[in-house]
Amino acid sequence: MDFLPTIITVLDSTIRLSIPLLLACLAGLYSERSGIFDIGLEGKMLAGAFAAGSAAFVFGSAWIGLGMAILVAVALALVHGFASITHRGNQIVSGVAINFIAAGATIILGQAWFAQGGRTPQVSGPGRFNAVELPGAAALRDVPVLGTIYADLLSGHTILVYLAFLTVPVTWWVLYRTRFGLRLRAVGENPAAVDTAGISVPWLRYRAVICTGILSGAAGAYLALAMNAGFVKDMTAGRGYIALAALIFAKWRPVPAMFACLLFGFLDALSIRLQGTPLPLVGRVPVQFMQALPYILTVILLAGFIGKAIPPRAGGVPYVKER
């Protein structure tokens, strides 16, 4: 077994598998930093994926698919905002409701529109996000190690992958270097301080959930149009929850969030690679165990290995003016 290609393959799929987690995780970061818990990431991703699959098929354009995914996810985020900001409802209940709506509505609409058992028809060509060759990748492929890493690991992903990674420093910059970020962090910690400083708490939180909608829609579009060639029912497969786990793991900070998502993506990639491969000492491991591995490690990591993760102090609490 040639060692380097194996590592490259695993890392390559790590990147592919991390991207939906990363986009969803950063999506959740905006909302939760503003004090709105969002367990509905899963539903927004799923609805986004369906919208992307449908629109890309109808219009034959991946970009229109992405746009529709973002629109639909933002709409759902606004529903969550309306329930939890304007009406001060329970954020968990609202988020769970969105997950149910998305799970049900995507199948019903998919069947009604395309009659393929809840799927959207396969898209190809410009209907998908296709791999982008970075400049010089072909020429450098033959350079040992570094050339291989460049050509096979860094190059050859879809544009969404590069955009997702770009979102990390952008989010960091927004959060720590802009007025909006300062207020966003403040409103999740002490909305009363923001209110008395003359800033509207609801408007600030609405802007935060809109950011969440945009990014979770992009995560859905990636699933449907980059990782796959169309929407398949329940295709998010719990990634929205894993993204939340990564967010806690990263203590609500953008750069650690990226590493957390890469770690979860790596575990996922590893479990796929190791399926059916006999391991030294243990021998052949059941497929089910390998598939469960990322989840088991998630539980272990979250249970004890990250120290104390303190959520934004006003998280989950609707803001009511005092007195």
């Binding site: 007025r179 300062l182 301080a193 923001v194 209110d195």
Partner: protein, 510 residues
């Protein structure tokens, strides 16, 4: 004469059927410190919230520097030059001082330039007003007094020249409060107008130029501070004559009821909070423990009450040991005649979601008089609650009302009634009048003296030095976990203050 800094004309505000402010008139002269005093619920905070744009008045006019203004939001207030220091600080705990100061007044969309500007401006404010604070310190790591300074700086940074302070000393130690008053005097010298809301008469007398008194939503009087007295203000606040000095005869201490020897208590972080403390409380005396909050008084009380374990030491109740390092529990101590009025009535003393009558017997609910077989005897509990309500003048007098709906003073009376009516030999009382109105304070103090005169031993812990001095026959001062001095009840405030600050006593002598 110059225009008033603020003039309120005929302000009315109702919340449903409750008229929080009725026909309020107020004039605040520029460059003065104007006190607004009144009991909890008198409408002071509502009035200031109207001035700061949290609420809109139902009717009435606001004039700032002679010009009518419309204040719809805090932003309008800030633009008019009104700043507010809230009772509960409006700070983001994990932000730095600078971040807190620029929040809402960033000036531009990017922070780098805002922070640079704020740093320079902060340096100027520091110099002008003597308000030193490290701009890069994280707020939650600062002591309360400095956090308050950040609040003041926040208002000044926004260009406030009229500053409203809402109960600013509630969270401060006496030295911190004195420091705040010096800052306010300095602000006044620099031409700022200060409005000070408080229910502490002493502060009004110490610092203000004029004082307005509110009672039950109306403005009952405005006086020049130099023309009035504490007695007059108290009477205006409560609406009847109030005895500020507790009248009591000399104590007649008898046998030792509670004896503490070499007690050491460690907290969860492994820090010794109580260090080798010894004292005794005899029947028929009140022993007060004075000290700035956090110097071990709370831990000492909780240990004696069986809520916390000691590392070493002995405690004798009626000359029989309490197992303070092992198995002492509050139930057992209650049976042995030790009652405890905890410092924090909301979290330790009461279950706020219970009805008044349930809290009135909480902890004693397994006594035969409240039981019918294995069940609670509701008729007996009701009768018992009604007796206590009558005797302690608890209002509203409805034993079925949820405890959370009582005012702080009445909640405290519920706890006191429960513990005192058990006729304990030893009573531990923590902060008996925290957040309690003047009228109720008088009542509570009288009951404590009555307990003493009935031959009970009372151990009183309070951060209110006035209270300690008014009630105690002997005063122990705690500093950094040790008892650093013992004085009799007539000790002067200055003398005790120095001990509390750790300036005098064995610690300082080393």
């Amino acid at each position: 004469m110059a225009d008033a800094a603020i003039e309120l004309i005929g302000i009315n505000k109702s919340f449903g059927p409750v008229r929080a402010n009725r026909d309020i008139h107020l004039e605040v002269a520029p460059g003065t410190i104007h006190g607004i005093i009144g009991e909890n619920g008198a409408g002071k905070s509502t009035l200031m919230s109207i001035l700061y744009g949290f609420y809109q008045a139902d009717s009435g006019d606001i004039l700032v520097r002679g010009k009518p203004v419309s204040i719809q939001t805090p932003n309008d207030a800030i633009a008019t030059g009104i700043g507010m220091v809230h009772q509960h600080f409006m700070l983001v705990a994990n932000f730095t001082v600078l971040e807190n100061i620029i929040l809402g007044a960033e000036g531009s969309a990017l922070l780098t330039s805002s922070i640079g500007r704020a740093r320079a401006e902060l340096r100027r404010l520091e110099q002008d007003y003597g308000l030193e604070v490290d701009p890069d310190a994280v707020v939650e790591e600062l002591p309360v007094g400095l956090q308050q300074r950040v609040e003041i700086l926040k208002a000044l940074y926004r260009g406030a020249d009229i500053l409203i302070l809402d109960e600013p000393t509630g969270v401060l130690t006496p030295p911190e409060a004195d420091h705040l008053f010096r800052i306010l005097a300095r602000l006044k010298d620099e031409g700022k107008t200060v409005i000070l809301i408080t229910h502490k008469l002493r502060e009004i007398m110490a610092i203000t130029d004029n004082v307005s008194v509110m009672r039950a939503g109306t403005m009952v009087a405005t006086r020049k501070t130099s023309d009035t007295t504490v007695e007059e203000l108290a009477e205006l606040m409560v609406g009847r004559r109030v005895l500020l000095r507790v009248e009591k005869d000399a104590a007649n201490p008898a046998a030792s009821k509670l004896s503490v020897e070499n007690l050491t208590v460690r907290d969860g972080r492994g820090v010794d909070m109580v260090k080798d403390v010894s004292f005794e409380v005899r029947a028929g005396e009140i022993v007060g423990i004075a000290g700035v909050a956090g110097n071990g008084q709370s831990e000492l009380m909780e240990t004696i009450a069986g809520l916390r374990r000691a590392v070493s030491g002995t405690v004798l109740l009626d000359n029989k040991p309490i197992d303070v390092t092992g198995t002492a529990d509050p139930g057992e101590l209650r049976d042995r005649g030790l009652a405890h009025v905890p410092e924090d009535r909301h979290h330790v003393g009461l279950v706020l979601a219970y009805e008044e009558q349930e809290n009135a017997i909480l902890g004693y609910h397994d006594q035969a008089q409240y039981l019918k077989g294995p069940f609670l005897d509701h008729a007996a509990i009701r009768r018992d609650a009604e007796e206590k309500i009558a005797k302690y003048d608890i209002r509203p007098g409805n034993p079925r009302l949820k405890t959370a709906n009582f005012s702080g003073g009445n909640q405290q009376k519920i706890v006191l009634a429960r513990e005192m009516e058990q006729d304990p030999g030893v009573l531990l009382v923590g902060q008996p009048t925290r957040g309690v109105d003047v009228g109720a304070i008088e009542f509570i103090h009288k009951r404590l003296i009555a307990m003493r005169d009935a031959g009970k031993a009372v151990l009183l812990v309070s951060v209110e030095l006035d209270e300690i001095r008014a009630l105690s026959d002997r005063i122990l001062v705690m500093f950094d976990g040790r008892i650093v001095g013992e004085r009799d009840g007539s000790a002067s405030e200055g003398e005790l203050g120095l001990l509390m600050a750790g300036v005098e006593g064995p610690e300082a002598a080393e």
